[in-house]
Symmetry: C2
Subunit: 218 residues, 2 copies
């Protein structure tokens, strides 16, 4: 039994469940975002800011992926929108089966946009579609500008890349020029946003763009 | 075919190869470190600093794990010590078979300490022993103090935890108190070092401790 064959089986099974999830989500007219990054890039902080700006215009819901804790889900719940926690029990990414179970806990007739925060991991989640309309990858300036070339798949598959913690850039050796060149070479069509959750920068632009994407679908 | 069984098979196969690697490394009297963290925590920068301080006293070698690039290996090569690049081709962690192949490219009779820099990933590498005497996990202050509880396995299995980018702590909301409490609750025996590669802080203490660990083994 080769290792490659095993991975193929898991991916096939995931694709079937994901197709079912996607069909259901499409029928309900829900726009779905798969939000991914390394641990600590600021996915949850961005979510908090985006929810604050969009929740009066759009009916939002969040699925939180985490290995064991409910720390992030608690932060989202405090924003007053529906949130479901998936604890993967150590698994490194979300998959179709986990999303299927989570969707059963949500009232899909009352959601316009569903944001799924994946497990913090710049490698594995990129390989598993989970029924999203768009993948968005977050990178923080503190991680260094070499990451898109070192972990290209996630950046390649993303409709948008968010460069977060832009307030820290002056204290790092992060090269904006190399970052933009590398993103262009991997994925010329990605929208790129620079954000700081601490300084509340770039969130407005991100939200305007998100709304335009949702309109494009509906 | 259940998913759990598959994982067990892969782990068993890895354990067998790792036992062979460990036997060989022990026979050669080589102290082996498995250096792990999220992408962008500063593993390679710490390695550069440690090599600079230790290479005159100890015969060092490095195995660099990366998905596709040789960026990190080039930085280590510039330090003038033997380095072997493993490109995992997208796989999220190093395993026994990859290490076996890499060891064949090194002159094991001329190495006192071998540092293996794992793929940047706070989840998967923790599950795969690769013949190391000690796991060391790096966390950067920019990632946030909640990471040990969110990704406990890697911290639990580590002999040392390095809190890097300590020069950035004042620009973040990182709580030292919570971090130390959480590490204590997960792994009370871990040595903890605070480092800054930019400011050259904490590297001397880390190197003194590393030397003491190597002596303990030999």
């Amino acid at each position: 039994m080769g290792e490659i064959k095993v991975v193929t089986n898991i991916l096939n099974s995931n694709n079937k469940l994901t197709a079912q999830n996607r069909k259901l989500l499409d029928e309900k007219g829900i726009y779905v975002i798969n939000l991914m990054s390394s641990p600590g890039s600021g996915k949850t902080s961005i979510l908090e800011k985006v929810i604050l700006k969009l929740k009066n215009d759009l009916r939002m819901a969040v699925i939180e992926g985490d290995l064991y804790t409910t720390k992030d889900a608690e932060r989202i719940e405090a924003q007053g929108i529906p949130v479901v926690q998936i604890n993967t029990g150590g698994a490194c990414h979300l998959d179709g089966n986990m999303i299927k179970n989570a969707l059963e806990s949500l009232n899909l007739d009352e959601i316009d946009i569903l944001i799924i925060e994946n497990v913090g991991n710049l490698v594995c989640p990129a390989e598993f579609d989970i029924g999203e309309d768009m993948k968005i990858t977050v990178l923080s300036t503190a991680e260094g500008n070499d990451k898109p070339l070192k972990y290209p798949l996630m950046f390649e598959k993303s409709g948008a890349v968010i460069l977060n913690k832009i307030d820290l850039i002056e204290y790092t050796n992060f090269s904006r020029e190399e970052f933009y060149n590398d993103i262009k070479s991997i994925n010329a069509n990605a929208a790129v946003f620079e954000t700081s959750c601490v300084k509340d920068q770039g969130i407005e632009e991100l939200c305007v763009w998100l709304k335009s994407q949702i309109k494009l679908k509906s």
